[in-house]
C-alpha cells in the first residue's frame, strides 16, 4: 500500500479527547483541501468511532485509543481507530441502526449507521476481551476552487 502521508496518535479514552480526534483529522486533511461537506462527514465519522471506543469499548474501565490516518493514492483517506477494550460479541447486532447497549446514556444507536453512510468502506475487527479496530476509507472528490 503506497502511502502519501501518515499520522498516528495514542490518547487516553476520555470524552474530552473526542474533540482532539476531530481536530487531528481536520489538520491532517488540510493539504488535501476537502470540500466543506467531506470535512464535516469525516469529522463526524471519527467522532463516532472514538465515542464508541470510550462509551462501549472502555465501558466502566479506562485505556488508550490509537488513531492512524493515511492519505493513499487517488485521494483515498484511510482511518483506523483501535481500542483494547471489551470488544463486541456480536458485530452484526452492534451495527443495527438504533441498537445500543447504553440507552441510559442516551446513545442513539446510530454511530455505525453514520460511519457507513459517510465512508466508502467500513471494516470492523473485534475480539471479546481484546478490543476493537475500525478501518474506514473514503475517497475525496477533486479539489474544488470554491464551495459554499
Amino acid at each position: 500500500m503506497k502511502i502519501t502521508n501518515e499520522f498516528k496518535c495514542v490518547f487516553p479514552a476520555v470524552s474530552s479527547n473526542e474533540s482532539l480526534a476531530r481536530a487531528a483529522l481536520s489538520a491532517f486533511l488540510i493539504p488535501a483541501d476537502p470540500s466543506a461537506q467531506e470535512l464535516a462527514d469525516l469529522r463526524t465519522v471519527i467522532s463516532e468511532a472514538v465515542t464508541n471506543a470510550i462509551v462501549h469499548g472502555y465501558r466502566n474501565s479506562t485505556g488508550l485509543i490509537s488513531i492512524c490516518l493515511r492519505m493513499l493514492p487517488d485521494r483515498v483517506l484511510y482511518i483506523r481507530v483501535s481500542d483494547k477494550g471489551c470488544g463486541i460479541p456480536d458485530i452484526e447486532q452492534a451495527m443495527t441502526p438504533l441498537y445500543t447497549t447504553a440507552p441510559e446514556e442516551e446513545r442513539a444507536g446510530l454511530g455505525f449507521a453514520i460511519m457507513q453512510e459517510f465512508t466508502d468502506k467500513l471494516h470492523v475487527r473485534s475480539s471479546v476481551g481484546n478490543g476493537t479496530t475500525l478501518t474506514m476509507r473514503r475517497r475525496l472528490g477533486q479539489i474544488h476552487a470554491e464551495e459554499d
Partner: protein
C-alpha cells in the same frame, strides 16, 4: 447555550451553540432538563443556528428530550439547522418526531 422561557406562549427556547458531541451533550442534557421540569413547556424549541458540529450524541440528546416531552403532551421544534445538520437529522428520522424549521432573524424578533 442560552435558555429563555416565554410564559405566555409556554415556549422554552434553547439556543444551542458550538460543538455537540458525547462530551458536551452530558451537561447540556442536565441543564435543559432542569428547565423542562421547572416550566413544563408546551413547546420546546432547540435552535441549532450556532451549532458548528454535531454527531449522533446530538441525536441522542434530541431523542431523550422528545421522550420527556411527548408523555406531557409537549411538542418539539428543531430550528435553524445548517444544511449538513439537516441531512443528519433527516437521516436519523428526527423529522418524524419533530418539526424542523428555518426562521429568519426578523421572524425570531417578532
Amino acid at each position: 447555550m442560552q435558555i429563555h422561557y416565554d410564559a405566555s406562549s409556554e415556549q422554552l427556547l434553547v439556543m444551542l451553540s458550538g460543538e455537540i458531541d458525547h462530551h458536551t451533550s452530558i451537561p447540556l442534557r442536565t441543564e435543559i432538563d432542569t428547565e423542562i421540569y421547572a416550566h413544563m413547556p408546551g413547546i420546546l424549541i432547540l435552535d441549532f443556528g450556532d451549532v458548528t458540529f454535531m454527531d449522533s450524541s446530538g441525536i441522542g440528546l434530541i431523542m431523550g428530550r422528545y421522550k420527556i416531552l411527548h408523555p406531557m403532551g409537549g411538542e418539539l421544534i428543531l430550528q435553524n439547522p445548517s444544511s449538513y445538520l439537516n441531512r443528519m437529522l433527516r437521516m436519523a428520522g428526527m423529522d418524524r418526531l419533530a418539526e424542523i424549521r428555518t426562521i429568519t432573524n426578523q421572524e425570531a424578533l417578532s
